[in-house]
């Protein structure tokens, strides 16, 4: 099936006063994809989602949900999407059931059987007033309200904040099911294991700029391989080998990163008499930290160079 474009942004930008919260974001998410949206606090993740929702006005550029302009015609765009914020602020005087009733009516269509299944799966008691729910329970409520609509696009902004590991598991199952049904999921998250487990593609944002987008595999190829080698004799000097960085020596073993071709490194290692060699691709966490760890978490302008 030729897939349509679920989410499309063209040069989408937002400036608050003098702060450039989002700079010329170009992103295309095909229907049925689960995309992870990563970035440190203040990188512009929530700004992106609020622009897609039409809650704030773009300073430049545009965004579409299934071809409907999010800024010009938000009501039409919203018919096909559901949104989960990181912190649920619901009307404290309504009960859980009343909230679900209201939000379902406003959305216009609800899969009631699925809603009941979700209530069961998240072990949620809807008879209490929102005021009395814990943070986790409020989050469950807003998750159920979004998922029960079976919307074509799910915009999730750190949706599992405050959920316990069991509920986090239930959430992952729901996202997997949504993917199975062909729904598109836009998942902004800090929980890297969650993104690693669920997402087809990952986009990384930094200080308002999109710095990386691709599958985890692609990103791994682009980034450094970790190599750890042990030697019988003297340890060779690896610092001048092309592509090698971050050399640390620990007794008879040496650790380093290598980008690009591994051949020059292997040649040096083989000559020096290596007797044990481990190489490992970076985890998402390491990729992520490589982008942000070294030179501060925000404020710098352009996209960073290859990891140090």
């Amino acid at each position: 099936m030729a897939s349509a474009t679920a989410i499309l942004t063209e040069n989408l930008s937002k400036t608050f006063g003098t702060t450039k919260a989002l700079v010329a974001l170009n992103l295309e998410v095909p229907e049925g994809e689960v995309i992870g949206y990563l970035g440190p606090n203040g990188a512009g993740k929530t700004t992106t989602i609020r622009l897609l929702l039409g809650l704030i006005q773009a300073s430049a550029g545009r965004a579409e949900i299934f071809g409907v302009d999010c800024q010009e015609n938000p009501v039409e765009a919203h018919r096909r999407l559901a949104y989960v914020p990181g912190e649920a602020t619901l009307w404290p005087s309504l009960t859980g059931a009343e909230t679900l009733h209201l939000l379902g009516r406003i959305q216009g269509s609800v899969d009631t059987a699925y809603r009941d299944a979700l209530l069961e799966r998240f072990d949620f008691d809807p008879t209490k007033k929102v005021r009395t729910y814990s943070k986790g329970n409020r989050q469950k409520l807003i998750l159920i309200a979004a998922l029960m609509t079976r919307a074509d696009v799910l915009l999730l902004d750190e949706p599992t904040a405050g959920l316990d590991p069991l509920m986090e598991r239930a959430f992952r199952d729901c996202v997997q099911e949504s993917r199975g049904r062909g729904q598109t999921v836009f998942l902004s998250s800090h929980i890297l294991s969650e993104v690693e487990a669920l997402c087809d593609r990952i986009a990384i944002l930094r200080a308002g700029h999109l710095v990386e987008v691709g599958t985890l595999e692609q990103m791994r190829h682009l980034s450094a391989l970790q190599v750890e080698a042990e030697f019988d004799g003297t340890i060779p000097d690896l610092t001048h080998v092309p592509g090698v960085t971050g050399v640390t020596v620990d007794g008879s073993s040496v650790r380093c990163h290598v980008t690009g071709s591994v051949e020059p490194l292997l040649t040096v290692l083989a000559r020096a008499g290596v007797h044990h060699l481990v190489s490992r691709e970076p985890s998402l966490e390491e990729l992520f930290l490589a982008h942000y760890g070294a030179d501060g978490s925000d404020g710098s302008e352009g996209p960073p160079d290859a990891p140090a």
Partner: protein, 544 residues
């Protein structure tokens, strides 16, 4: 010697709630103290200039047996003296504003802090629940002193500098009596903060007590045979102390007793309950009430329902009292040149009860305008709290939501106006005043156009400047109130008077509605609201 760890004395650590509360209550307390003190001082100081001759003072005394003024501002004694005039002119003003401030500051610094989760931090330290409540009371006491001191000092200074014979001692007594309402309502605030499930409900309960106290003393002051009722109202006790004209210390007994008892009650309740809960436990609704929850319009109605019910009840009660006293007040007013002047300025011609009702419905218009400003505030608070996001991320158009929200405000002022008119007729009918129901319903509807104007301007501010919308809406009402107060005191046609929407109201039923003004007020209000709705569609949703 250097210490490795910063450590504070046990006493300091255990007093943190008292100190924080004191600090946060004292700053606004001092500011209000300046305002109150300046109000009193200015009145004493200007009396000889405003009423220089015996004749002018005798004209003022014509007020003394005037039930309408007494109902609004308390009994009037010795208006031919600077002391009596000052007591009448600034007494009720300071008393009521002080009571409102005391209530709001008490609930904000206790229940508000608890709702915000900050008391949990304190209680995780070395403070117990009862201890924290006691410390909050101590902190508020400091805030009260911060209010009282500048009020008394500035009032006394005003008296000392003036050419009148008002003694410094009498002025200090007056300042103390007037701000004592703040102490009582601080204590009432402490108790309702412990009983209600959240700060908002606590404020509502406190406001109901204040309104009740005001209405009881209103009845007491409008008919000498009901004067004993004054002893049933905290505001009545302040009146019974007869500041400046009698200095009756005995009235301070119930004031002090009530304050101390309520503080003790608040500490006892705080000790007995869990943090974050209330004595009136919220019921888990066993059955969902989804009648109104079919869409955003129904939701808006449901959210606004408590405010609508409260305001309609308050206006009906006010209208009833007005109607009840209209006959007596009307006969007392016959021949009062000042009221005649006011009614004439407003365009009225009638006399007696009808004239009195024409005047007091201007007051009702002020109340309805406050109610409507409250709806503007509720609109902004829906956005600021993030609740609105839940609607706008779904297929709900912004213009539709805001139209409905402002429509509820419009409905509120219509219903409140009609109820006020009907209740006034009911009250007047018990006194066989012979005023027709159609006249009073018309008077009720006549309060709506200024409210529409306030609603429209509030809606415009919400669309263009969301963070300022609440200030603009209430500011417009306060401005109108100030302008009306000035207009009542001086015979002026200054253009500034025209900036108050109330100025353009005809005193129905004392005259026919001013249709030109009605068209202008409604037209400008609707235009402003439509502009606000259009602007809201093009701006960012902004949080608190």
């Amino acid at each position: 010697m250097r210490r490795r760890k910063e450590s504070y004395g046990d006493r300091a650590a255990s007093r943190v709630v008292a100190r924080t509360t004191a600090k946060r209550a004292s700053r606004p307390g001092v500011l209000w103290g300046y305002v109150f003190g300046a109000t009193i001082a200015a009145t004493v100081y200007t009396y000889p200039k405003t009423f220089p001759t015996l004749a002018s003072r005798e004209a003022l005394v014509a007020f003394s047996n005037n039930a309408a003024w007494a109902a609004l501002f308390g009994p009037l004694y010795r208006l031919d003296t600077a002391a009596g005039y000052t007591a009448y002119k600034s007494g009720m003003f300071v008393t009521i504003l002080g009571a409102i401030w005391g209530l709001l500051i008490a609930t904000r610094l206790t229940r508000g802090e608890e709702d915000g989760g900050r008391w949990e931090l304190y209680l995780a330290g070395r403070t117990t629940r009862g201890g924290a409540a006691a410390q909050a009371a101590m902190g508020l006491a400091a805030g009260f002193v911060a209010l009282w001191l500048p009020t008394a000092l500035i009032a006394a200074a005003g008296g000392a500098l003036s050419t009148t014979d008002v003694s410094v001692r009498a002025l200090v007594f007056f300042a103390t009596a007037a701000v004592s309402a703040a102490a009582m309502f601080m204590a009432i605030g402490l108790v309702v903060a412990q009983l209600a499930p959240n700060r908002h409900d606590a404020n509502m309960a406190g406001a109901a007590i204040l309104a009740g106290s005001y209405l009881v003393r209103m009845m007491a002051d409008s008919d000498p045979s009901l004067a004993w009722l004054r002893w049933l109202s905290p505001i009545g006790w302040v009146e019974e102390s007869r500041p400046l004209t009698g200095s009756h210390w005995v009235a301070f007994l119930p004031i002090v007793a009530l304050t101390l008892v309520l503080v003790a009650v608040s500490i006892a309740v705080a000790r007995a309950r869990d943090l974050g809960t209330s004595a009136f436990a919220e019921r888990d609704a066993p059955r969902s009430r989804t009648l109104l929850l079919g869409g955003q319009a129904g939701l808006t109605l449901r959210l606004a329902r408590p405010a609508i019910v409260a305001w309609v009840a308050a206006l009906a009660a006010t209208g009833f009292v007005f109607g009840l006293v209209a006959q007596a007040a009307g006969s007392a007013l016959k021949g009062s040149p000042t009221l005649d002047r006011i009614i004439h300025r407003l365009g009225g011609t009638a006399a007696g009860a009808v004239s009195y009702l024409g005047f007091v419905f201007v007051v009702a218009a002020g109340l309805v305008a406050i109610a409507v400003a409250g709806q503007v505030a509720a609109t902004r608070n829906e956005e600021a709290s993030g609740h609105l996001d839940n609607l706008l991320v779904r297929p709900v158009a912004r213009w539709r939501w805001l139209s409905v929200r402002l429509g509820v405000g419009l409905g509120l002022c219509l219903v409140a106006g009609l109820f006020a008119g009907f209740a006034a007729w009911l009250g007047a009918a018990t006194q066989h005043s012979g005023i027709g129901i159609d006249q009073l319903l018309k008077a009720g509807l006549n309060v709506v156009p200024p409210a529409i104007f306030v609603l429209g301007v509030g809606g415009l501010a919400f669309g263009l400047w969301p963070r300022g919308a609440i200030g603009v809406a209430y500011g417009l009402v306060v401005w109108s109130f100030l302008v009306e107060t000035v207009a009542a005191a001086v015979n002026s046609n200054h253009w500034l008077l025209d900036t108050s929407p109330m100025t353009h109201m005809a005193p129905v039923p004392a005259s026919n509605p001013n249709w030109t003004a009605v068209v202008w007020l409604v037209g400008l209000g609707v235009l402003a609201a439509l502009t606000g709705i259009a602007a809201f569609g093009r701006r960012d949703i902004v949080g608190a």
